[in-house]
Symmetry: C2
Subunit: 578 residues, 2 copies
Amino acid sequence: MKMNELKNLIEVAAGRKSADLLIKNCRIVNVFSGEIENGDIAVVDGKIAGIGENYDGKKIIDAHEKFAAPGFIDAHIHIESSYISPEELGKIIVPCGTTTIIADPHEIANVCGLEGLKYMIAAAKKTKLKIIFAMPSCVPATDFEDAGAILNAEDMEEIFSDENIFGLGEFMNAPGVINCDEKALKKILLAKKFNKLIDGHGPNLTEKNLNAYVAAGILGDHECMTVEEMKEKISRGMYILIREGSACHNLRKLLQGATEKNSGRLLLCSDDLQTKTIFEKGHINNHLKICVEEKINPITAIQMATLNTAETFRLFDRGAIKPGNCADFVLLNDLKNFVAEKVFIDGEIVAEDGKYLPKIISQDISKVRGSVRVKNFSAERLKMNLKKNFVNVIKILPGEVVTKKITAEIKIDSDGDFIFDSSKDICKIAVIERHHETGKIGLGFLSGYGIKFGAIAISVAHDSHNIIVAGVNNSEMAFAVEKLIEMEGGMILVKDGKIISKISLPIAGIMSDKSGEFIAEKLDELHKKAHDELGISKNVEPVMTLTFMSLSVIPEIKLTNRGLFDYEKFNFIDVEAE
Amino acid sequence: MKMNELKNLIEVAAGRKSADLLIKNCRIVNVFSGEIENGDIAVVDGKIAGIGENYDGKKIIDAHEKFAAPGFIDAHIHIESSYISPEELGKIIVPCGTTTIIADPHEIANVCGLEGLKYMIAAAKKTKLKIIFAMPSCVPATDFEDAGAILNAEDMEEIFSDENIFGLGEFMNAPGVINCDEKALKKILLAKKFNKLIDGHGPNLTEKNLNAYVAAGILGDHECMTVEEMKEKISRGMYILIREGSACHNLRKLLQGATEKNSGRLLLCSDDLQTKTIFEKGHINNHLKICVEEKINPITAIQMATLNTAETFRLFDRGAIKPGNCADFVLLNDLKNFVAEKVFIDGEIVAEDGKYLPKIISQDISKVRGSVRVKNFSAERLKMNLKKNFVNVIKILPGEVVTKKITAEIKIDSDGDFIFDSSKDICKIAVIERHHETGKIGLGFLSGYGIKFGAIAISVAHDSHNIIVAGVNNSEMAFAVEKLIEMEGGMILVKDGKIISKISLPIAGIMSDKSGEFIAEKLDELHKKAHDELGISKNVEPVMTLTFMSLSVIPEIKLTNRGLFDYEKFNFIDVEAE
């Protein structure tokens, strides 16, 4: 801050100079007192100078008794899950009242490493939305598949001191921390050295394991499934990021454990959001709506979406309508539906009546495109050579990321390759390494997906984002994969040897360079065709379900580009069942 | 933190290794959940590793169901006000359960500048008490007297980055901030540059002035006198440091405004404490006792004395019994009287049953002694040459630091010097510059002090700590001053030309190198003699009253070494009245 800025701020605050902007007649949501306060907000140089009455402003907006709340903060989100770029995500969530997000670019880092992170930081500068990034802590997420990059502590040092990086993102390798894995602890020590925070991810951690995880310096957790789990974690000093996303719905349940005493330790986050969910329900404003439906005091709810998050992540310049803070706030018609009428960031009106106002100039994506690199791929590579027709199968549990390990009898040809039988809900699935042209391919079987015709291929596959393809015959599966490679990644449906739907995701093969509206519409269409034309079961989400089929850290059985993985044995198993 | 330390901490937390120390059977005050939790506390390498059951310990202490609370933190204290050194203060407040204090060495800095600050930091290392220091923000406090040092922003840079300095101490020059005084703002900008905090001191600030003060980046305030003032400051985002000291008693009143909603913004502090008060009442544990008497939930009260303060001052390694935190905690018999049975700092028992256990090795004081430097002083210099016998007089208001400006007729001799009249409660008072041998002396009159015989001289005088002397004739006043200079400062009573009581304060002329017990006893004796033998009124505290007589920033009339100061006119006035 410079002397003239500080002087200007004080001059306006003290009432000796006119504000740049004066919002008159607000019902201010005061997150410090927990009360509603009538008054005006004086803004200068993008900062809140004063709150009260009798200020002058060069520009005056009458709020007509609308509620003025601090801009909402999402405590944990993966931008990549929306399949759109940071600047496009900003365009659709800022109108919801969101002014800051804490983003973990874990997915793009798994594809592009630090280059992906640098792209995200650069892209973030193209949107008014304030994006605070985590350094992804677990790249790759597991040692059982090939990701595009490996980030060790040594690699992180270079950009760890960037002010846009708050610290380490969700430390998913909780067993590594608890069991003193040196690679994991090195990252933690590096964060401590840079005085950075370490966000957590500790599903079901309890008692001594929880103590160990917290003792290591882990700050928060967004994986609580029960009130009991949440309460234990709060007792150990963790902040709880209550999640409500497109797939995970923890909010209503966990709110049952929120009290006046512990609400200061509660934050709101989305983790993974699809554009469709945002268009239909909103973003953090939807969380607030749910909070009020669940009988949480609306100001307490707003604290959870603003001040608590700002303080937890040590963003001391935001999260409250306070003199000296950034002028990030939102005008709301009520504290029930939380529809944002106007959204201000750094004192600028950036959204009005659901529309994002600034012009969007997209970040250049040349350094993160062309990420789908596969060598020597052909239909031949999808052929199996099974010694028997009794096999292990991945069984989808609709709406879950966990799977069930089952066995089944299948038809095989004379070479031992699979013959699809439309009377049985079992198809072939393959995972094809697509980062380093290693040629590694994992083959297996999927049940519960329902596909009856053609093939579907995607280059979004947690967490290493290899290509996953599922289909009824090798040729259509291979055709889908080949076309997907040509597209530089994305999603594709093939039927009768023709492409019937596709979405290009040229940004690291996981994100589009198109708008949120475009993606929402195209994805809807692709989903519809997946169900209607390929016959994929209506009770599974055709794309997202598939994206989790290679995530080996989740029970019970998954397929990576290295083969079929049994979570319980924590090792690879043969496709042939015993 | 090193790899082996982190590993060891995690190993113990996870239960794979024995703790160094295990405190069994505690009723743990959980400041996160706001609840009492039964369990054991496992400590290793001075840190809390785990909370729970079934831990092993090399050393085991059975707490027998005593309450285990985080160590108490005083959010704002001037060590100098106790007249004892940091290591001696540690000795008497650690047994009260205090494990950290946030200290503003404003007084010694006014005498010795940065050298004083360096001494305090070095002395702090000689006690187990953790002392976090402020960089005094306002040295000198005013431009109307001569202090020993001037600290401008440029002078601060040198040691601002010291990890023991949290930021700028109470920014008393609130008018300077609000009116954009460049010298004041430069200090604020420096603090921001170093990412340091700025503590406040803003009595009666309200509305636009408060906005301006907060906008400048001021964090907290300990000067609230009313609930209304406190609530307005909370609403503007300030933390409120509720004060209960030897002279200022704000706690019971302000607690009337504490609610479950705002208590997270409330902290406890003492500001100024005499050793006698500590021996009689305790330290922050006494604040807690008062909180409970005022019907505050005891856990809420403990939060105000621990977690809230730690978080406000960003001491993220303490303030809660939490895995990974420093093992600073206290065992209490009850949550009513808050008597500390055992006190632990960094896992070591440092006090038991009111006794401080570690050996004390005093810090060398050679760099801060010999601070009383006066040239060409004699009884002659105390002579007045009044043109008339109608004069302005400083009237003491018992128990207050503010004074009243009155006029009176006095007796004068043929040279115009004052003749003491024991039937009138008016004596001569002089302030003698004692830092730079400037020879400056201010002369005036004091009413309401009651002195009838001899003289009293002290080298503790807020905030510049020149010598103040009051007495009934020039020769005894001069004798007291001369002896005080020989003593290197302190307090002295003279009667019939002889010393009847004295306390040496060789550390900067404001602090003793003796124990707290010694000072408490000697000060008691000196007070008694001041009343009994010099006739000083029983309704004034003979020493403290005098120490505030030169503080020109307080209404209505004061005397500095430069002359009589009228607060309303904010300028010097003649002794002769108009």
